[in-house]
Amino acid sequence: MLFCIYAIITLSLNLQHGYTGIFNLGLYLPILVGAIITASVPGRLAMLIYGIDSELDFSYNNPTVIDILRSKLANDPLMSIILLLITMLITIIVCYVLGYLTAHPALRLPADYLALFMLCLSESMRVIGMQTTWLTGGVFGIQVINPFWWLGRYSYQGLSIFVVSTTLCICFIVSKICASPLGRLLKAIRENELVAESVGKDTNGIKKQIISLAFIILGLAGVLHAFWMGAVIAGGYTRVDFSYWPWLMMIVGGAGNNIGVLFGALILVLIRRVMIVSKHVFFFLPFSVVWLEPILLAIMLGTTLMFRPEGILPERPRSIMNYMKKILKSQQQ
């Protein structure tokens, strides 16, 4: 499940940076927005639909409300799916608009400014999420509905299948985009924006669209993460977990290559799991094994940057010969 969520995040990052060359350190802004929408919308909507006691507040009486909703939604699969789809739809719309509004001023900035601008926005959102109780339960966090309660004791499996399916759909869409002429254009923008502009491409407009699309994908990752956790705690969406880790996954895997970034995500999620499971092996360490994780992460990142900066599965340059053959063949036909 964690691999699926990180897979979605790193694919989005690859689309932004690997393909388009946009340097974004604030990945967790749309993820958090997606999580906030999941925390705020379906539960409250369900309360309205079922006419649950209006004196109960979803945030302040969260456990009681969740209990009531569980009993209702466990017998109402249609409503559960509708709520799920509405949540995703609202996330798509909000994240698209947010991406566009954010990209508009940000794209005028140099790369490092843009990265840090996004970081500042993301931190602000995190602080606001943490301090605002009515929105996401503030520091307490908030439990969210499980749209698969109607599956009874298989609700967790149902959710897992949904997450995997969504991940596959997103992978499919992203791979199609990258293999299309748009994907080639993105690479052209990445390589030399001036040249792309000189042939009449609206590079700024395209970048805005890509950021908006990336925000949609990240927002959906936030929705899936929130449903998987069963709760949203705004303070838990930190830049280390949702920005630095995906960047590391992309660099280790290979920026510009979707298979590479997925591979990077897989390796790092596995390594983390292995470290959790086999930490007793490190009994000889004079310090808590918890601190081994950032050290190993740093060593891995440093080694990759020094010896294999292009990543384990680097971007494969398009073969000009194959492309020319294709053109000639089509002309002959």
């Binding site: 840090l116 500042c120 590391l248």
Partner: protein, 305 residues
């Protein structure tokens, strides 16, 4: 009377923040790489005054050692980045490389805090050395020391830049790396020393931090955005601008919240957002910062003249 106390609070905060911002800006303009490990380097040195206290020494005695420690770590980081830059690493890769150091320093800080907790029963996961500060004329000693450190480091740096051959070489290297090396400047050595110096500034500001604030191993990560905000508001390519930015951010955080709290008591919990909003507004409206804006006006004035 109350405004004086608030003013003093903001003043101490501004001295420490200005020092931090100055160091960040200097590192940025030397290599054009935002150093994401900068705040970790600074806050790693906060454990030095605690260590000195455990050894029954004054925390202020740790300042020279904090300078050396911060400088040494910064020097190592510079060497690492230089190695990567020579291999043709892009800006993104270099920023990622600073994260390597960030992670290692973060782990080391926590390991040390854990060591102190386990072996010496000193709870170092969250500590404050305010109680161990001296008082002068009824005011906390940190006010004088931070002011002194801030002004003396600025003076020293200004003299270094303007009056010494090394400073001129450094300015040349920052302006145009390749041209400076063709003129016989040992750019590598100049930048190494610059980064050492900047790391030293970070170390000193980190060592002063727990004498006013409470400290834990995660403060570095949290303060990074505030430091960046100070640099951006003041002018990320101007050292004096970043100092001005530090003052502005510190004062706006405290005074805006204080005056708004008369009507909205809850505003204090959103204090951190003020610096972020200031940074965002500055980036959008005035990317060159206040110092850059002032330079622009002066240039226009000169042109008109």
């Amino acid at each position: 009377m109350i405004l004086l106390q608030i003013f003093l609070t903001a003043l101490i905060y501004s001295f420490i923040l200005s020092l931090l911002a100055m160091g960040f800006t200097l590192q940025y303009i030397t290599l054009n790489v935002p150093n994401l490990a900068y705040s970790s380097i600074a806050f790693f040195c906060t454990y030095l005054p605690l260590t000195f206290l455990i050894l029954k020494l004054s925390p202020y005695m740790s300042l020279p050692f904090a300078f050396l420690l911060g400088g040494a770590i910064s020097f190592l980081l510079f060497k690492f980045l230089k190695l990567l830059k020579e291999k043709g690493m892009s800006l993104v890769g270099l920023m990622m490389a600073t994260i390597v150091f960030d992670l290692i320093i973060y782990a080391c800080m926590n390991i040390y805090a854990e060591y102190l907790s386990r072996n010496l029963q000193i709870y170092a996961a969250s500590f404050s050395l305010t109680a161990y500060d001296f008082e002068l004329l009824g005011l906390p000693g940190i006010m004088f020391v931070s002011a002194g450190a801030c002004f003396s480091l600025i003076m020293l740096f200004t003299l270094l830049l303007m009056k010494t051959r090394f400073g001129i070489a450094m300015r040349a290297a920052v302006e145009n790396y390749n041209l400076a090396s063709t003129q016989g400047v040992n750019v590598d050595r100049v930048l190494s020393v610059a980064w050492f110096f900047v790391g030293g500034i970070a170390g000193v500001s980190g060592a002063l931090y727990p004498l006013w604030f409470s400290m834990d191993p995660w403060v570095g990560a949290r303060m990074f955005v505030t430091i960046f905000a100070a640099c951006v508001v003041g002018g990320i390519r101007s050292i004096y601008g970043s100092i001005l930015g530090g003052v502005l951010i510190a004062f706006s955080e405290i005074f805006v919240c204080f005056f708004l709290s008369f009507s909205f008591t809850w505003i204090w919990s959103y204090r951190a957002v003020i610096s972020m909003i200031a940074a965002v507004i500055s980036i959008i409206g005035m990317p060159q910062g206040i110092a850059g804006y002032i330079s622009k006006i002066r240039e226009r004035g000169l042109i008109k003249a």
